[in-house]
C-alpha cells in the first residue's frame, strides 16, 4: 500500500514539474504554430537567474521567506527579457514561414542561448537550495516528503488554472482563441495578430522561466539542463496533443505516474516507459490525445 501511495505522490510531483515546463511550449505552438526548441534554454535561463539571485539574496541576509518572491521575480525578468528579444529580434521576421523552417530557427536560437549561458554563468554548477528546505517535510505514512514539492504541485495547479482562465474568461484569451482558429479571419476582423504573437511568446517564455526558477532549488543548475527539458516537454505535448493545454496536463500526469511506477516497481524501464507511451500515442493518434485532426485549408 505504501508503495502505491509513494507512486501516486512521486508521480504527481514529477507531473507538476513536467506541466510547468511544457505548458508554455504547447501555448506557443497552439497560437503561433511554432515548436519552440529554444524553450529548453528559456527554462535554463530561468533556473540560472533564480540560482544567481537567490544566492545573492541569502548572502545579503534578507528575510528567507521572501526568497520565493525572488524566484518569481527571476522568472518574470528572464521570461520578459528573453521572450521580447527573441520574438521582436528574430521570430517576427519569420512569421508565415514553413513550420519546419521555424523549428530550425528556434533550434539555432537554442544553440546560441546554450553558449551564451556558458559565457554568462560559466560551466560550474549553481546551487539555490535554501528555499527547498524552508518548508520542512511532511510525513505521509512514514515517508518524508519535502514541503517544497507540495508547493510545486500547487504552483502547477495555479499555472494551469491561470492559463485556462486567461484563455476562456478574458478578452485577450478570446483574441488568442480567435487567432488559433483562424489567423486570416482574425486579421480581417481587426485583431492585431502580431501583438497577440508577441504577448503569447512572452507568456510562453515566462512560463518556461518560471519552471526553471522553481526547479532551481531542487537541482544543481549546470550547463545542458535545457536539453533534457526540451526532449521531455516535447514528449509530454506530443502525448497530450500539440497546442492543447488540457492535453499537456494529461500528458504530464500520464508520464509522471508511469515514470514513478517504473522507479518503484521496475527501475530498469524508467526511461523506456516515457518514450514508449509517446510512440504508442503517435502510432494510434498522431495528433495526440487531446488535439483534433487538423483539416487542411485549400
Amino acid at each position: 500500500m505504501l508503495t502505491y501511495v509513494a507512486i501516486v505522490l512521486d508521480g504527481l510531483v514529477y507531473a507538476s514539474w513536467l506541466f510547468m515546463v511544457s505548458v508554455g511550449l504547447t501555448l506557443i505552438y497552439g497560437v503561433m504554430k511554432i515548436l519552440n526548441i529554444a524553450h529548453g534554454s528559456l527554462y535554463a535561463i530561468g533556473a540560472y537567474t533564480a540560482a544567481s539571485l537567490v544566492g545573492a539574496y541569502f548572502s545579503a541576509g534578507y528575510v528567507p521567506v521572501l526568497s520565493f518572491a525572488v524566484l518569481v521575480g527571476a522568472a518574470l525578468a528572464a521570461g520578459l527579457v528573453c521572450g521580447l528579444v527573441i520574438e521582436r529580434g528574430v521570430l517576427r521576421f519569420m512569421y508565415g514561414q514553413d513550420e519546419v523552417l521555424m523549428i530550425l530557427v528556434t533550434y539555432a536560437i537554442f544553440l546560441i542561448l546554450e553558449d551564451l549561458i556558458k559565457v554568462f554563468w560559466g560551466v560550474s554548477p549553481y546551487f539555490a537550495f535554501q528555499p527547498y528546505g524552508m518548508l520542512g517535510n511532511f510525513d505521509v505514512m512514514g515517508l518524508p516528503y519535502a514541503g517544497y514539492d507540495f508547493l510545486l504541485m500547487g504552483l502547477a495547479g495555479l499555472t494551469g488554472l491561470g492559463v485556462w482562465w486567461s484563455i476562456n474568461r478574458t478578452r485577450t484569451g478570446h483574441l488568442l482563441t480567435a487567432v488559433i482558429h483562424d489567423r486570416e479571419m482574425s486579421t480581417a476582423m481587426g485583431v492585431n495578430v502580431k501583438r497577440v504573437y508577441t504577448v503569447t511568446f512572452v507568456i510562453g517564455a515566462t512560463l518556461a522561466a518560471l519552471g526553471g526558477a522553481f526547479t532551481a532549488p531542487k537541482i544543481s543548475v549546470t550547463p545542458g539542463i535545457g536539453v533534457e527539458v526540451i526532449v521531455l516537454a516535447f514528449a509530454v505535448v506530443v502525448i497530450g496533443g500539440l497546442g492543447s493545454i488540457g492535453g499537456a496536463m494529461i500528458g504530464a500526469l500520464l508520464v509522471g505516474i508511469l515514470r514513478a511506477a517504473a522507479v518503484h516497481l521496475l527501475p530498469e524501464v524508467e526511461l523506456f516507459v516515457i518514450y514508449a507511451v509517446m510512440a504508442l500515442v503517435l502510432a494510434f493518434r498522431p495528433y495526440g490525445l487531446f488535439a483534433a485532426p487538423e483539416a487542411r485549408k485549400i
Partner: protein, 429 residues
Amino acid sequence: MGVRRTRRQVRRVVALLFGAVLLFQAPPGVTAAASGDELLVGCLFPMTGRGGLYGRDSVAAIEMAVAEVNADGGVAGRRLRVLVEDSKSKPAYAVQIAERFIRRENVHFLCGAVSSAVGLAVSDVARRRQTIFVGTDHASSRLTGESRHPYYFRVSNNTRQSMAAGARYLAELQARTGWRRIGFIGPDYDYGHVMWRDMREQLDALGVDYEIVVELWPKLYEPDFTPYIDAILDAAPQILVNGHWGGDAVQFIRQAGNLELFERMRFFNFDAGGNYEVMAALGDEMPLGVVLSARHHNNWPDTEANRRFVNRFYEHAGRYPSYAAEGAYAGIKAIAQVVGEVGDPRDTDELIAALEQLRLKLPEDPEGFTSYMDPETHQIVQMQAIGEVVPNRAYPPATTMLGNWRVYDAEQLSGSGDVVHRETASPTQ
C-alpha cells in the same frame, strides 16, 4: 488528409531533430601536430557540466606534472607537451577527438577520460590504432577485465579494488551488527553496473549473508533524485551502497539529507563519494558519520609527498584538488617515466613492456608502499583507505573531511580467484 499531413510533419520534425543533434556532435578542429623533438600526449577530459571540475582539476595537475618534467630537462631529450580536449562526457564525440589526436596530431599517447563510457570508447580506438591509452580516472573494472587489451593501462584504482575494500568493510560491519538488508543506487551506465556487480561478487566471495531489497538506476546527471530516495525509504534497507560521483553524489546526498535518509539507514560510497569535491560542495550539509572513500584523499596518507602535492596544487589552482587531479598527475608521470626508460616514444612494444613493469611512487602511497602495475591486467595496484565523515575545517571551503580510517592492503584488493581468472581468460586483442 489532415491526419496524414500531421503525421508527415511529425516525421519531418523528428528527422530534423536527429539531424540537428548529429550536427551538434561534430568536434572542433585541433591544431599543431607533434614535432620531432617533442613527446606529445593527447588527453580527453570533461570540461563542462557535473564532471567539469574533474576535467579542470586534471588539467591543473597535468600542468604541474609537465612543468616538473620539463624543468628536469624533458624526457629522453624531448620536451613534453600535452593537448587537452573537452570530451563532453560523450563517447561518440570522444572517439572523434581521439581519432584526430592520433591521425592528425600524431600523438604518442592518449590519456584521460573521467566517464567509464568514454574510457571504453577511447580504449577501443587505442586498440584499433595500436596507440597506448593511459586511463587516469574512470574506474569501471571492465576496462582491465573483459575489455582489456595490450594498449590500455590504468593508473588509478578501479571499481573492483574499491568494492573489494568496501565489501571487507561491510563484512566487518556485519560481524558487529548483523545487518542483512542491502540496497544500491548508482548511475545507469557501465560504471554503475560494473561497480554493483563487483560489490556483489566480493560480498559473495567473503561469505557475507545479504538480501538485496532495492536496486535503482537513475541516469547519469539525473537532476532530481526525490522519487528514487522515496523508493529507497519505502524498501528500508539497513545498508545503502551508493555509486554516484561528482555533482550527482552532491545532489543525491543533499536531497537524501533533506528527506532524512541518513537517519534511517547506514550510507556508503566506496569509490567516489569521499572525493574532496563532494565535501567542498556540501559544506555544513555533509552528514557526519557516513562512510566514504575515493581514489585519492587530501588528508591521507599523512606523508610529506601527499602534503606537498596537495599544497602545490592549491598554490597552482587556488583550490584543493579532487581525486581526478592525482590520477591525471600519475598518468603524465607514468608516461614520462617509461619514455625516459625506453627512449623512443614510437617503440610501442617496448613501452608496453616498460609500463607492465611500472613502479611509480605517488602522493597517495603511504610510507613503505609504491604503486605498481599488474602486468596481467594492466591495472595499477594501490591501497584503499575508507573513512567516516568527521568535522575538519583544514581544507576550506569543506567543513568536513574523512577520518577514522580503515586501510586495506593493495594485494588483497587487486584480486585473485575466480573473478580475475574469468575475466583474464579471454582478453580482447
